[in-house]
Subunit: 699 residues, 2 copies
C-alpha cells in the first residue's frame, strides 16, 4: 500500500503540468493535462490562438465503471513519423504522412484499469484516439458513451446539418454555432428516412470558420468496429461533445481489449486549401491490407439510373413499386421497365463508342415491385433477374464491346437479408465477370432497431468491402455511413455516396448551389464520393412541363465537378441521348481522367468556391475544375502547376456570358488556347456556375 501511495504522488506530480506535443511546423500545439480529480483533458492552440479550450476526454462503460476520472499518468511517450505512401487510386501518387505523436499511458487509480490516449499532430490538424490495452481487469466491455469534448474558442460560422442516425443526405445550413437548431431546417427535403437525434445534435465532419479567418474541421478517421460520431452542441457555449450512435438496445459499442477507438480529428488552418487538400483522414487509417491490388481499377461509367430518377422508366418490371401490383405472384410488365436487355445494350453501345469503362444497371432484379418503406426483410435475393433482363446476353454483349458491367445490390436497408445472400450474389457476379457493384441502403435497417450509423452497420459496410475484396471486386455503397478513410485499407471500397448526391436535384428541392463547395471540406475528407455529376439537361421540365425541379448548377459546373468531387469512380449520369445533343461539352467528360498523379487546390472557400487542378496518373494531361456557389465569380488562375518547358492546349469549358443556374443554365462556351506554366487564365463563373479545363501537352 505504501508503494501505491508513493506512485500516486509521483503521478500527480506529473499530472499538474501539461504535456505538450506540436505539429512538425510547430504551428499547432496540443496540451494534455489531468485535472485534480484525474480527468484527462486537452487543449489546442494554433500559433497564438486558442482553438480548443480545455476539453474532457473519456469513455463510459456499461459495466464495471466509467473511464473518465481518477486517472494517473503511468508514462508518456513521444515519437515522430515521416513517411510517404502510395495509394492504389487517389488524388496523388504519393501521400506524405508526417506527424508528432504523444501517447499518454493512464491507470485508473482505484480500479487499476489502463487507458491510453494518443495524440497525433499533423501540420494541418490534431487527431486523438483512445487505446484500450490488453489487461487483466478489462477484457470485454460495452461503451455506453464517449465524452470527447471539443470546447471551441469562438462562435464560429458552421456548415451543419442535423445529427441523424440514418442519413447524411441533407443540404448544409450555414449559421453561427449559437444559431444551430435542427428544428429550423426544412424537413421537406426529399430524405425518405430521418432519425434526427435532437435539436442541437449535428453531424461530423463539421466545417467551421472563425471570425478571424481560421478554418476548423471536426471529424473522425478509421471508424472500424465503432459507431459513427455525431456531435452534441451547447450552442451558446460553442461546446461540442461526441454523440455516438446507439444500437437497438441503446448500447454504443461492444469491444474487447486490445482495441482502439476511431481517431477524433481537428483540422486547423488559416488557409482553407490545407483542409480541402488534407490527407490526414487517410493517413490515420491502416495501410492497404490487400497484397494484390492489380484488379482495382478506376472507372468512368454510364448507367440505367437517371432515367428512373426522371420517371422516364421504372426500376421495377411491373411499374408501380408496389406489391399490390404483383397480385398472385405474377408480375405484369408495365412496358416502362428501364433495365431491359435491349436498353442495356443501348447503354453498352454508348459506353463503348465514347470510351467509358462500365455500365451500371439498376432495377435488373426481382424485388423492386415492393421494395421501399415497409421495413420488409426479404425484398431482394440479389440473384434473380426480371424476365426482360438476360444476364448472360447482357454480359456477353458487354464483353464483346470491351465494357464492364456494374452490378447493383439495393438492400432496402434489409442488411440481414443481404448478408444472408451476399456470397450467392458474389458468385453470380463472378460467373458473369462483374468487376464491381453499387450497393444501396434505402430504408430502415434490419436487424430492426439498428441505425445506418451504428456499430453494427459500420461493421457491415466494412465487412462488405472485405468480402468483395475476397472476390477481387470493387464496391460503391450508397446510403452507407460516411467513409472515414477505410478505402486506404481496402481500396476496392472504391467510392460511396453517403451525402446528398446529385439525384436529389431530380425530384426534391435539390442541392443549393453552395452544396458542392462544401462537400470537399466535409464528406470527401473520408473518401471518394459517387456524386454522379454530368447532368446536361439541367431542368426537369424538359421531360414534363409541370416539373419545377432542376439541377442547381450550370452545365459547365457539372463538368467542373469531375475535378472538384474527387472519385476514382465517376459516372456520366445523364441520358445518352442528352450527351448526344451536346457533343462538344460531352468531350470533356470523355477526356477527363479519374486517377491522379497530383492534385493542387488553387482556391478554396467553403460555401463559396473551389478550384482544383489535377494531373492524370498515366499521362502529362492536367485538368482543372472551378466552381462557385450562387454568386458569380471572376478569378485569375496561375498555371504554374503545369510542367515548365511544356506547351499545352487548354480547352476551356466555361459558363456562357449569359449563363445562370436558374435562368440559363445550359449556356456554355468552349474555347481552345495554348498555354504554358507561366500563363494565367481569367475565369468567369456564372451564378451557380463553373469552369472545366483540360490541358494536353503539345510537344
Amino acid at each position: 500500500m505504501k508503494k501505491l501511495s508513493l506512485l500516486g504522488l509521483l503521478f500527480f506530480t506529473i499530472a499538474i503540468y501539461a504535456q505538450n506535443v506540436q505539429s512538425p511546423s510547430k504551428a499547432i500545439n496540443v496540451a494534455f493535462k489531468l485535472t485534480a480529480d484525474g480527468k484527462p483533458t486537452y487543449a489546442v492552440t494554433y500559433k497564438t490562438k486558442s482553438v480548443i479550450f480545455e476539453s474532457s476526454l473519456g469513455i463510459k462503460l456499461k459495466e464495471s465503471g466509467d473511464l473518465v476520472a481518477n486517472f494517473a499518468i503511468d508514462s508518456i511517450k513521444q515519437i515522430t513519423a515521416n513517411e510517404t505512401w502510395q495509394p492504389v487510386l487517389g488524388e496523388q501518387s504519393n501521400i506524405k504522412n508526417s506527424y508528432n505523436e504523444m501517447t499518454i499511458n493512464l491507470s485508473q487509480i482505484a480500479s487499476g484499469r489502463k487507458l491510453n490516449i494518443v495524440f497525433r499532430v499533423f501540420d494541418e490538424g490534431v487527431a486523438f484516439r483512445y487505446e484500450f490495452p490488453k489487461q487483466p481487469k478489462l477484457n470485454y466491455f460495452i461503451v455506453t458513451d464517449e465524452v470527447s469534448q471539443f470546447n471551441l474558442a469562438g462562435n464560429h460560422k458552421a456548415f451543419w446539418f442535423p445529427g441523424d442516425f440514418d442519413s447524411q443526405e441533407y443540404p448544409y445550413t450555414e449559421t453561427k454555432l449559437s444559431e444551430v437548431n435542427t428544428d429550423n431546417i426544412d424537413r421537406n427535403n426529399g430524405i425518405g428516412l430521418k432519425s434526427i437525434a435532437g435539436k442541437y445534435v449535428i453531424q461530423s465532419p463539421l466545417m467551421m470558420k472563425s471570425a478571424d479567418g481560421l478554418y476548423i474541421n471536426i471529424f473522425e478517421a478509421a471508424v472500424v468496429n465503432y459507431p459513427v460520431m455525431h456531435l452534441d452542441l451547447v450552442p451558446n457555449e460553442y461546446k461540442l461533445t461526441s454523440h455516438l450512435v446507439p444500437n437497438a438496445i441503446g448500447d454504443k459499442a461492444y469491444l474487447q481489449t486490445p482495441c482502439v477507438s476511431p481517431w477524433r480529428t481537428i483540422m486547423i488552418s488559416n488557409d482553407a486549401r490545407d483542409i480541402v487538400g488534407s490527407k490526414m483522414i487517410l493517413n490515420l487509417n491502416e495501410p492497404c491490407k490487400l497484397e494484390d491490388t492489380s484488379w482495382i481499377k478506376p472507372m468512368k461509367y454510364v448507367g440505367i439510373w437517371w432515367e428512373m430518377h426522371l420517371g422516364k422508366s421504372t426500376w421495377d418490371y411491373a411499374g408501380s413499386q408496389n406489391a399490390q401490383n404483383a397480385a398472385d405472384g405474377k408480375l405484369k410488365p408495365s412496358g416502362r421497365h428501364g433495365a431491359t436487355t435491349e436498353n442495356t445494350k443501348r447503354y453498352i453501345d454508348f459506353a463503348a463508342k465514347n470510351g467509358f469503362d462500365g455500365v451500371l444497371v439498376e432495377g435488373w432484379n426481382v424485388g423492386w415491385e415492393d421494395w421501399f418503406g415497409n421495413w420488409k426483410e426479404e425484398v431482394f435475393d440479389f440473384t434473380t433477374p426480371y424476365p426482360d433482363f438476360d444476364l448472360k446476353a447482357v454480359n456477353d454483349y458487354a464483353k464483346s464491346k470491351g465494357i464492364k458491367m456494374i452490378m447493383h445490390h439495393e438492400t432496402s436497408g434489409s442488411v440481414a437479408n443481404y448478408e444472408r445472400h451476399l456470397d450467392r450474389a458474389l458468385e453470380l457476379m463472378k460467373k458473369y465477370g462483374y468487376p464491381a457493384a453499387k450497393s444501396g441502403y434505402v430504408g430502415r435497417i434490419i436487424p430492426r432497431g439498428e441505425y445506418h450509423d451504428g456499430q453494427t452497420m459500420v461493421n457491415h459496410f466494412n465487412f462488405v468491402a472485405r468480402r468483395f475484396a475476397d472476390y477481387k471486386m470493387m464496391v460503391n455503397s450508397h446510403e452507407s455511413s460516411r467513409p472515414t478513410g477505410y478505402s486506404r485499407t481496402y481500396p476496392n471500397y472504391i467510392a460511396a455516396e453517403a451525402a446528398r448526391g446529385n439525384e436529389f436535384n431530380a425530384w426534391s428541392n435539390g442541392n443549393p448551389p453552395m452544396h458542392e463547395t462544401i462537400l470537399p471540406f466535409t464528406r470527401l475528407l473520408g473518401g471518394p464520393m459517387d456524386y454522379t455529376p454530368g447532368i446536361f439537361e439541367i431542368k426537369m421540365n424538359i421531360y414534363d412541363a409541370t416539373k419545377k425541379e432542376q439541377v442547381h448548377t450550370t452545365l459547365a459546373k457539372q463538368l467542373a465537378l469531375y475535378l472538384t468531387m474527387y472519385s476514382p469512380l465517376q459516372m456520366a449520369a445523364d441520358l445518352p441521348e442528352n450527351y448526344e445533343k451536346y457533343p462538344d461539352a460531352f468531350q470533356f467528360i470523355k477526356d477527363v481522367a479519374v486517377d491522379w498523379q497530383d492534385s493542387k487546390y488553387l482556391e478554396a472557400e467553403p460555401g463559396d468556391y473551389l478550384t482544383v487542378a489535377r494531373k492524370d496518373k498515366h499521362s502529362e494531361n492536367w485538368f482543372l475544375g472551378a466552381i462557385t456557389d450562387e454568386n458569380a465569380r471572376d478569378t485569375e488562375i496561375k498555371l504554374d502547376f503545369l510542367s515548365p518547358n511544356k506547351k499545352y492546349t487548354a480547352t476551356i469549358y466555361a459558363d456562357g456570358v449569359d449563363a445562370d443556374w436558374q435562368k440559363n443554365p445550359k449556356s456554355y462556351a468552349i474555347k481552345t488556347i495554348q498555354v504554358t506554366s507561366k500563363s494565367k487564365i481569367k475565369l468567369h463563373l456564372a451564378n451557380g456556375g463553373g469552369t472545366a479545363i483540360s490541358f494536353k501537352p503539345i510537344n
Copy 2:
C-alpha cells in the same frame, strides 16, 4: 350507408348465436361467438365437460388500431378433411390427418379490415389460427401482442417451467396452476443464459391433468415468421393468455398480408396415450416442400462430445476456453484437445465396428478459446480447423470405413456471424461430403437485443433448415427455439435439442427421473429431440472421485430412451471405452432402429411413466421402451402389437433386481425369451429405471 347498416344488422343476427364445430368423433366441441361489442371468443368442451371457458381472441397492432373488437361476421365456412400422408422419417409410415374445420370471416365494422379465425378440431384436440387476408386496408403490419386466451376450467396439475425468451433447458415443476410461481424454482440449474419473462409466465407446450382425469396440453404448431408463444397465467383464475416473445425494440412480429399466425393447439383426452401419440402438431404444418428427399436418412451416431462434458478433454485446442490463453494470436496446445485427427479416427473405427452411421466431432474449429459468455460477434468462422484436426484426412478415413462425418457449427448465439458465413460453411461441408451438421446457439443472440425465441430467430432456424436443404444436407439444432412441426415441411431439419438434454446430467443438478416421462408430452410433440441417450457410466465420480453429478436414471432406462425419445437421429452418447465395458447392453443400441413403420403407445402418464412399442420401418423387428420416474413400477405388457402368426425372440434389457438410479444404477439383467402376439410380459422398472426390449421374428 343504408346498405352498410343493413349488413351490420345481419352480422349481429349471426353473432349472438354460437357457431359450433366438432371433432370427427364428436367428443370435442368448439363454440365460437362474438360478444356484444364484437369481440371474438371461443369455448371448448370435451364430452360433457368444459375444458376452455369463453376466451377472447385477437391481435394488437402497432399502427392503425387493434384487431380485438368491433367485429362482425361476414361468413362462416365448414369443411371436413380426411387424408393420410407419409413422412420421410417418422414414428409411423402413414399419418392420418382428420379434422373438421370452421373458418369465420370477420370484418371490423369501423375500419373495414378483415380477419379470419380458423378452427380445426381433431379427435385429440383443437387448433385455431388467425388469417390475415390480402386486403386494401391491411398490407404491412406490426404485431405488438396477441390476446389468445385459454381460460381453463379448473385448477389443473401442470408440468411447467418459466417462460424464458432464451431457454427451454429447465427441469419441469409439477404443481397446481394456482401454485405456479417462477420465483420459486431453483435457478442454480446449469442454464447459462436466462431471460425469464415474469413470475407467472410459463412455457408452452404446457401439459396438464385435471382433477377428473382429463389430459390437456396447450401448445402451438407451424411457428413460421412469428415469435414463440409463451403463456401468461393468472394463477388463481387458471387463465392463460398468449405471451409473444419480443424483438430488440419490443415488437412481436412483422407481417404482410396475406399471412397467417401459427396454430394455437389445445389437446384434450381422457387417455394420455392420445396426447403423447398425437400427430396433430405435424398435421398442422405444411406438407414437405422438398421434391427429392432421397438424401434424407436416419442416423445413429457417436461423437467427440461427452468427453468434453466430462472434462476429460476440451473443445478448444488451448484448453482453457479463454482468449487470454491465445496471447499474441498464437494458440498453445494443451494436449487435452478432443477433436484431434487421431481421436476422431478412433471414433470412426468404433462407429464402423459397431454399425453406426455417423461420427460427430465438436471442437474441430478455431474459436473455442474464447467462445462463451462474452456476447462476442466474430467467434467462429465455421471453416478453419484447429491445427491438430485434418479435415481431409478425417473425411478420407471416414469414407474408407463407410462412416459419415457430422459437422458441428457452434454459433455461440452470434447468428449474424453464422448467417454471414453459412454459405462458406456449407461449401466446406460439400467439399468433404458431410451429410449433416449439428448447430449450437449457446449464448446471447447477436443481432443484439434479439432472443432465441423471437421472430428473427424463428426465421433463422427455419432459414437454416431451408439453406441446408438447398445443399441436400440435414441439420440438428441445439439451443434453438423448440420445434413446432417444421420438420414435416423440411424433413432435413432432422432433430433439435431445444429442451433440457442428457448433457445437464454431466455437470449440473441434472434431469430428475421424471424428466424423460414429461418430454414426450411436451417438447417431442413438435418434432424429434436429440436427447443424446445411452450413457452407461451413470455416475461422474468414476472420472473424478469428487464429482457428485450423475445421470438420473438406471442404465436400462438409458436404453429405453431410444424408444421413448423419438428421433431419427440418435446418438450413442457415452464414450467408446464405456460401451466396450458393457457389450451385452450395448447390443441393444447397436440393434435399435431409428425410423419406424408404426408406433404404439401402450402406457402413458406424464410425470410417471411411458411405454411405447415401435416397428422398424425396414424389417419385421419391434422394439419396446418402458420408463418410469423416481418410483419403481411393475407392469404387464400385452404383446398384441406383434404380427399374429409370428414367433419372436425377445431380448429384454431390464433393471437388475437391485437396481436403483441413485444407489445402483448400472445393475441390469438381460434375458432372451420367445414370444408371440398373444404373450404378455411382466416388467419391473426400478426407481428411475426402465426396460428396453428387441423383438426379432424367428420364422
